[in-house]
């Protein structure tokens, strides 16, 4: 009847559940990226200011998110903070928040790097026509930095999508968590289910991330010319 075992993917509403899980994964990643990129832009700008304490604090913020593994961050936000601070957020929101802060940290470094590599004369001629620091960032430095930082940003996005696979650990119903449930529920009837379910999940991640990574490669090559 079903020699391949693919029927596990289509039994009941399994397939649409998996798609739903994929959607959860995607919207969490997108929202976290959106918030994180905006916040990271501001933090990156602030890291080019002269004010030492501000720079130090932002540097520590970045290092914290770099050094602490994302799993630990998620656990921290989901299990520990609510108990200490009495804030109870749904797992999806905790996930968005944690990922957004992580993205902001990483992106602040990308933005800072791009900003300081904009030639010094661009900054000075902007100041010389009376632009405020904010106008200088807005109309001259950020647009120029953007082209420089695009490949690194896309790389960051692919990392975020991949890292969403950790979300099951804080019981978000993402594509992996749902896949796991399907495997367990159909373990009797489809002993090979695990192979097919993870095969499909692999395919899902691939079609989301591969175009991004291709784009990053292309832009990187373009920047080098």
């Amino acid at each position: 009847m079903d020699h391949l075992g693919t029927s596990v993917l289509f039994a009941g509403n399994n397939f649409s559940r998996l798609l739903g899980g994929l959607w959860t994964t995607i919207w969490i990643a997108l929202l976290a990226l959106l918030i994180g990129l905006i916040l990271g832009t501001f933090l990156g700008m602030m890291r080019t200011f002269k004010n030492r304490p501000v720079r130090l604090i932002l540097r520590l913020y970045l290092e914290f998110f770099r050094i602490v593994p994302t799993v630990v961050l998620l656990f921290l936000a989901y299990y520990i903070l609510p108990r200490q601070l009495n804030i109870n957020l749904p797992a999806e929101q905790v996930a968005v928040l944690t990922f957004a802060l992580w993205v902001a940290a990483e992106f602040s470094d990308i933005v800072r790097g791009a900003l300081i590599s904009v030639p010094k004369h661009q900054r000075e001629s902007g100041l010389a026509i009376g632009l405020t620091h904010w106008q200088l960032f807005r109309y001259v430095l950020l647009p120029q930095a953007l082209t420089l930082e695009l490949p690194a940003t896309i790389n960051l996005a692919t990392r975020v999508v991949k890292t969403t696979s950790l979300l099951m650990l804080i019981s978000v119903m993402d594509v992996i968590n749902i896949g796991q449930q399907i495997i367990e529920a159909n373990g009797q009837s489809h002993p090979n289910g695990i192979f097919w379910v993870y095969g499909l999940i692999f395919f899902f991640y691939f079609i989301v991330d591969y175009p991004l990574s291709l784009l990053a490669k292309k832009l990187n090559a373009a920047n080098q010319h």
Partner: protein, 246 residues
């Protein structure tokens, strides 16, 4: 006597512990053209950058239109609209077209309407012979064209004083003339007040009313131009002029 626009009193400048400018004193009147001359490394760039706040000075006072300048970021931002500056490097904003380079200041800083700003830009570009380049990006222009547009960008704010820091020093020789002619015309037609740092001695002699001769951060001469080029007061200035000839 024409009205005094800018006065510098006892200006001292240090980089870390090293002193770069020593008790610099001078003033410039409306319509006057001052050539700031001196050997490389004498502090010319540092001095004119202090005049629009791109460099902080350590001690001393600056008076603009008779008012003492309180060097806060906000005041500098105001003053910079009245003191235009053009640099040696071609420094148009590379992400913007020629037109956007020019209207950015009038629109964002001076809150002029876009149509008004475009009108100013078009008129000035015509004047420097580049009216066809409104939608061009800087990378498509020659050095001389970029430098003329950089001058237009500064003029679009209707400054009272213009500062030029070796604006022809990185141009190909055949481009130099066009840029110098624009500066000369600014003085002759618009009676623009200007401080010019240049290595073109013939040009300085033609255009300047007065010469400030700077060496090792000291003003050694503040002399009418006619006298400076014919009969400088100091031995050092005579040596300098000699060294600038072939």
């Amino acid at each position: 006597m024409a009205k005094e626009i800018l006065r510098v009193e006892k200006l001292n400048k240090f980089y870390a512990k090293q002193q770069i400018l020593y008790d610099v004193d001078f003033s410039i009147a409306q319509g006057e053209v001052l050539a700031l001359l001196g050997p490389s490394g004498s502090g010319k760039s540092t001095l004119i950058r202090c005049l629009n706040g791109l460099e902080e000075f350590s001690t001393g006072d600056l008076f603009f239109d008779g008012q003492k300048m309180v060097p806060t970021e906000k005041n500098w931002q105001q003053i910079r609209q009245k003191i235009g500056m053009v640099f040696q490097s071609y420094d148009l904003f590379s992400n913007l077209t020629v037109l956007e380079n020019i209207v950015l200041g009038p629109i964002k800083v001076q809150k002029k309407s876009r149509s008004q700003a475009v009108q100013i830009a078009t008129r000035l570009l015509k004047r420097v012979g580049l009216a066809d380049y409104l939608q061009t990006y800087p990378r498509q222009l020659s050095g001389g064209q970029k430098q003329r547009i950089a001058i237009v960008r500064a003029l679009a704010l209707h400054p009272e004083v213009m500062l030029f820091d070796e604006v022809t020093a990185s141009l190909d020789p055949e481009m130099v003339r066009g840029v110098l002619e624009i500066i000369k015309e600014l003085s002759e037609k618009d009676n623009m007040t200007m401080i010019i740092v240049t290595h073109e001695m013939n040009f300085a002699e033609q255009i300047a009313d007065r010469v400030l001769f700077l060496e090792d951060g000291h003003i050694l001469e503040n002399t009418p131009s006619k006298q400076f080029f014919v009969n400088s007061q100091t031995e050092r200035a005579r040596e300098f002029l000699e060294s600038m000839k072939f």
